[in-house]
Amino acid sequence: MRTAAVVLALLLAACSRPAGTLQASEGWIRASAVDGPMAGYLSLHNGTASDLRCDGASGADFGAIEIHRTSVENGMSRMLRDQVVAVRAGGSARLEPGSYHLMLFRPQRTLPAGSSSRITLSCGALSVAADFIVKAQ
């Protein structure tokens, strides 16, 4: 009986606190006037007890998605491919202009400002999907 109560309490705790998950928010994509790759940005929050490494992404609207990072070294602006975004347990990470971003190759449809696109990020055993809003600039 006592065990059942504890189990119930734990189940209730689990239901009322969805924090033990990986969450994605503020996803956006910069609209482009020309064909070619686009860039996507978002915030990640790791509510789990484990450190996470996000190293992949996919979405039906793009031929391929890679995680890239812009870096300025010795006055040169460079694009570094195949990057990993580390999100510590309980911590957050941001993909933002001029730094880490999702490189969205071969858009499969026109994505005007105001439209949105669903992208799934893979972080080891976990994944998280988010709707990215397309913004003009």
């Binding site: 040169m76 971003h101 600039q137």
Partner: protein, 206 residues
């Protein structure tokens, strides 16, 4: 003994000469420009070698097209979806805060002529501001103007042959109405600082 003295003397002279040499070299190699908040103003405007680019309307673009107005030149390419749009959006913001007399024309110099056709350049830059202007040039004209401007670029292979990227100088270059280099600006760019620098340099030189 005298021999030993001589060698010490020569060694001493040699050491002084070496130190003097370094001092002189430093004098000549250190750019003594004026420090700006987001870059450096050259001690003297530097003329560009003769060059010919192609503009976004497929017309020739050279020194005559730069004459008579200030230009802020930004090297980049249109398959750059992160830093190039971010910088162009920032330049739109900077220009919006400047009086018309102090507002340079933003010219986007593509270092990727293989993919950036004039029409493509025009669509790309006018998305940010109809006043922005795109130019490029085939090789070897592109590398010649890049040398003259003091900028570098390099092709970096991607996961497929058409997804290559270009590494390129992250600087903005300010040209005066005589098409001479006046200042270089380096990232990270802050709109307020860049705006203050443009006001100071263009305001003084206009």
């Amino acid at each position: 003994m005298a021999k030993a003295h001589n060698s010490i003397l020569y060694g001493f002279i040699g050491a002084i000469a070496a130190v003097l040499g370094i001092v002189v070299a430093l004098q000549f190699s250190t750019p003594r420009g004026t420090e700006l908040q987001s870059g450096t103003q050259l001690p003297q405007p530097r003329a560009l070698p003769a060059f010919e680019l192609v503009d976004q309307d497929a017309q020739p673009f050279g020194a005559p097209q730069l004459a008579g107005r200030w230009t802020l030149l930004f090297p980049g390419f249109t398959y750059c979806p992160d830093v190039c749009p971010t910088t162009l959006a920032l330049l739109k913001q900077v220009n919006a805060g400047l009086d018309e007399s102090l507002r340079p024309r933003v010219v986007f110099l593509s270092v990727d002529p293989e993919r950036d056709t004039p029409a493509r350049l025009k669509s790309y830059v006018s998305h940010f501001d109809p006043g922005f202007f795109g130019v490029t040039a085939p090789e070897p004209q592109l590398s010649a103007i890049a040398r003259g401007l003091g900028i570098a670029y390099a092709k970096v292979p991607g996961s497929s042959p058409d997804s290559y990227q270009m590494d390129h100088s992250a600087s903005l270059i300010l040209l005066d109405p005589q098409a001479r280099i006046v200042a270089y600006f380096s990232p990270p760019f802050d709109p307020a600082k860049l705006s203050a620098d443009l006001k100071a340099v263009i305001g003084n030189g206009a």
